[in-house]
C-alpha cells in the first residue's frame, strides 16, 4: 500500500492466489492529512516534507484509480510454471528459479539497477513475496523433517539479496515459519536477511485467555534489525511488542504489562 501511495513500482509474487487479489485486499487511504515520507521524495522529486508513512483503513480496498497510477508486475506461480516448466538455476527449486529470473528481468528492463540511466526518473521497486518456503512453491521444507533439498530456499535468498543490493529495490517476504520443522534452515534464513520480524498469534494458544493479553491479538517479535553501513549493532531498547487488529486499524504497542 505504501508503494502505491508513494508512486513506486510494485512486484507481487504469489503461489497461492492471483496477485490481483492481493492488491485488491490492500488498504484504502484514509484522511485528509497526507504525510509523505521524505526518504522516498529525495529520490522521486524534491519537496519539503514532514513525517513518515500514511494511514490506511484496512476495512476497505484500494481504489482502482490509485492502483492504475503506478506500474505493477505480477508473478503467479501456476501461470509462470505453465510457461517455463523446466527452468533450472543451480539445482534450485523450479518455482524459485522462475521467480528469480522474473525479478531480475524486471530490475534490468525497468532500469532499477542503473542500466538505461537516461530512460527515466529514478524510482523504487517494492517486491512482495507471499508464503515463501511453503508447499505451494514446490518446497518440502514445511512438510518434512528431512527435506529433499534444504538449500533451495537459502540459495534463493542469497541471490535475491544480491539483486536487492545492486538495485533500488526493497523486498518483504512472508514465511510460514511455524511449519518449518528444520530449525537450522530458519537460522540460515535469518542470517541471510536484513530485518526479521515474527508475528505470533494468540489464537489457539494458552495466551488467548491470559488477562494480561486481553487487549491484544498477538505478539510482534523483532528478531533482527538491519546493520548496514555501520559498526553499531542492535540497540533498540525494547523487544516486547504486541499487536492489535481492529476493524480499521492494525496497531503495534510496547507491552508494558509483561
Amino acid at each position: 500500500a505504501e508503494g502505491v501511495v508513494c508512486g513506486h513500482d510494485l512486484f507481487v509474487a504469489s503461489a497461492m492466489e492471483p496477485p490481483d487479489n492481493i492488491l485488491k485486499v490492500k488498504t484504502h487511504r484514509r484522511g485528509k492529512d497526507i504525510l509523505i515520507d521524505h526518504n522516498y521524495l529525495e529520490i522521486a522529486s524534491p519537496t519539503t516534507s514532514t513525517k513518515f508513512g500514511h494511514y490506511y483503513d484496512i476495512s476497505k480496498t484500494m481504489s482502482p484509480e490509485l492502483l492504475q497510477s503506478i506500474k505493477w508486475h505480477s508473478f503467479y506461480l501456476p501461470e509462470e510454471l505453465s510457461l517455463e516448466p523446466k527452468l533450472k538455476m543451480c539445482n534450485m527449486n523450479c518455482g524459485y528459479a522462475n521467480l528469480l529470473h522474473s525479478i531480475q528481468r524486471v530490475i534490468y528492463q525497468e532500469g532499477f539497477d542503473g542500466s538505461h540511466p537516461q530512460k527515466k526518473q529514478k524510482n523504487i521497486l517494492r517486491i512482495g513475496i507471499q508464503s515463501l518456503g511453503s508447499l505451494l512453491w514446490g518446497d518440502d521444507i514445511c512438510s518434512s523433517d528431512t527435506p529433499e533439498d534444504i538449500h533451495s530456499l537459502t540459495k534463493f535468498l542469497y541471490v535475491l539479496r544480491g539483486l536487492l543490493r545492486k538495485s533500488l529495490s526493497a523486498c518483504i517476504i512472508t514465511v510460514p515459519s511455524h511449519l518449518i520443522q528444520n530449525k537450522a534452515i530458519m537460522e540460515r534464513v535469518t542470517n541471510l536477511s536484513d530485518m526479521v520480524v515474527g508475528l505470533e498469534s494468540f489464537i489457539g494458544s494458552e495466551r488467548e485467555t491470559n488477562p494480561l493479553y486481553k487487549d491484544y491479538h498477538g505478539l510482534l517479535h523483532v528478531h533482527q534489525i538491519p546493520r548496514l553501513n555501520s559498526l553499531i549493532c542492535d540497540v533498540s531498547d525494547t523487544k516486547d511488542l504486541a499487536f492489535r487488529l481492529k476493524r480499521k486499524q492494525f496497531t503495534i504497542e510496547r507491552d508494558f504489562n509483561v
Binding site: 540460515r188 553501513n229 555501520s230
Partner: protein, 296 residues
C-alpha cells in the same frame, strides 16, 4: 586490541581498566576503557605470522571484529584478500572510512583484493560467459562441482606475491563462512577449503588467516557447529562474542571470550579471558565484566 599478551597481567585501577600489550593500544578503531590509549600504533610486522584466528559469534553480530581486522591489516601495510560473502563492498567501505581506511584506495593500489560474493554470484547466474575462461570463484553454487577449489585458486592467486610486490605479509579474511553452507557446500568441502588456504597462506607464505563463523543462540545448525568446532581445534586464537545472557543492555552490547592457544601440541591450558564490550559509531570499547561506565 587484537591479542592480549599472556605475560602482561590485567591491572584494575580505580575502576578503570588497562590492558597492556607488547605493541601499545590503537588510538582509533578499538580502545580499552578507562585509560586513554597511547599513540603507538600496532605493527603487524611485530605480530606473530602464520597464525589462524577464528571469530565466532553466537546470538549477536560479530562483524565488528571483521571490520577491525580489515582496517588493522590494511593500515599495517599487509596485502589483504577479503572474501566478503554477506555484504556489499560499499557497506564495508563506509565502515572502514569511519575507522580511518579507504577500501577503494586500497583496492586501487593493489593492496586489497576484494571478492564481493553477492555480485560474483549474480555474475555467475545472470552474466555472460567469463571472457577470460577462468571459472568464477563461487562456481560451486551452480552445482557443476561440489568442492571449493575455484575459491581456493582465487585466494591463492590473490595472495601469491607478484614481482613488484612490496606488501608486508599476506592476510586472508573471510566473512562469513556459514554462508557457504547455506549455498550448498558440504561442511567437509568448507573444511578442505580452509585447510588448503592454511597450507598456502600460513605455512608457505607466512601470512595470517582470520575467519568468521556465525552462529545463532539456539545452535540448531549442526553443520555450522561442526565447521566452527572443527576450526576451533586448529586455531591459534579464538575470539568468541556472545550477547548478554541477561538480555539487552544499552551500555553493554555483549561479551567477548578470548581463547589463546599456547601450544597446539602440548596439553597446556589455553589462556581464556572474558571482557564485555560496547560498540559505538567509530570504535569499540572493551572492559572487564561489571566495570562498564554505566555501572560505575
Amino acid at each position: 586490541m587484537t591479542e592480549v599478551s599472556s605475560t602482561r597481567s590485567v591491572k584494575a585501577r580505580c575502576g578503570s581498566f588497562l590492558v597492556g600489550t607488547e605493541r601499545g593500544v590503537q588510538r582509533e578503531g578499538f580502545q580499552v576503557a578507562g585509560r586513554s590509549s597511547t599513540a603507538g600504533s600496532m605493527s603487524a610486522a611485530a605480530s606473530p605470522q602464520g597464525k589462524f584466528t577464528l571469530l565466532r559469534d553466537t546470538g549477536t553480530d560479530g562483524s565488528f571484529l571483521v571490520h577491525h581486522f580489515l582496517s588493522f591489516y590494511l593500515r599495517a601495510g599487509c596485502k589483504v584478500c577479503f572474501v566478503a560473502l554477506l555484504q556489499s563492498f560499499s557497506h564495508y567501505n563506509i565502515v572502514a572510512q569511519k575507522l580511518g581506511v579507504s577500501l577503494t584506495a586500497a583496492r586501487e593500489r593493489g593492496q586489497l583484493v576484494f571478492l564481493e560474493g553477492l555480485k560474483s554470484c549474480l555474475d555467475l547466474l545472470f552474466g555472460e560467459e567469463e571472457p577470460s575462461g577462468e571459472p568464477s570463484p563461487l562456481q560451486f553454487i551452480s552445482g557443476s562441482t561440489s568442492n571449493l577449489k575455484a575459491l581456493f585458486d582465487f585466494v591463492r592467486t590473490s595472495l601469491t606475491p607478484a614481482d613488484s610486490a612490496s606488501w608486508k605479509g599476506p592476510v586472508l579474511l573471510v566473512d562469513d563462512l556459514s554462508v557457504l553452507l547455506s549455498l550448498g557446500a558440504a561442511p567437509v568441502a568448507v573444511l578442505d577449503f580452509i585447510h588448503y588456504c592454511r597450507v598456502v597462506v600460513c605455512s608457505q607464505l607466512q601470512g595470517n588467516i582470520v575467519v568468521l563463523v556465525h552462529g545463532s543462540e539456539d545452535a540448531e545448525d549442526e553443520e555450522n557447529d561442526l565447521v566452527g568446532n572443527s576450526l576451533g581445534h586448529h586455531s591459534d586464537l579464538i575470539l568468541w562474542v556472545e550477547g548478554l545472557a541477561t538480555g539487552f543492555c544499552k551500555d553493554v552490547h555483549g561479551e567477548i571470550k578470548i581463547i589463546k592457544r599456547l601450544s597446539l601440541e602440548s596439553t597446556e591450558q589455553d589462556l581464556v579471558q572474558v571482557y564485555q564490550y560496547k560498540i559505538q559509531e567509530r570504535n569499540v570499547t572493551f572492559f572487564a565484566r561489571g566495570l562498564s561506565a554505566a555501572v560505575l
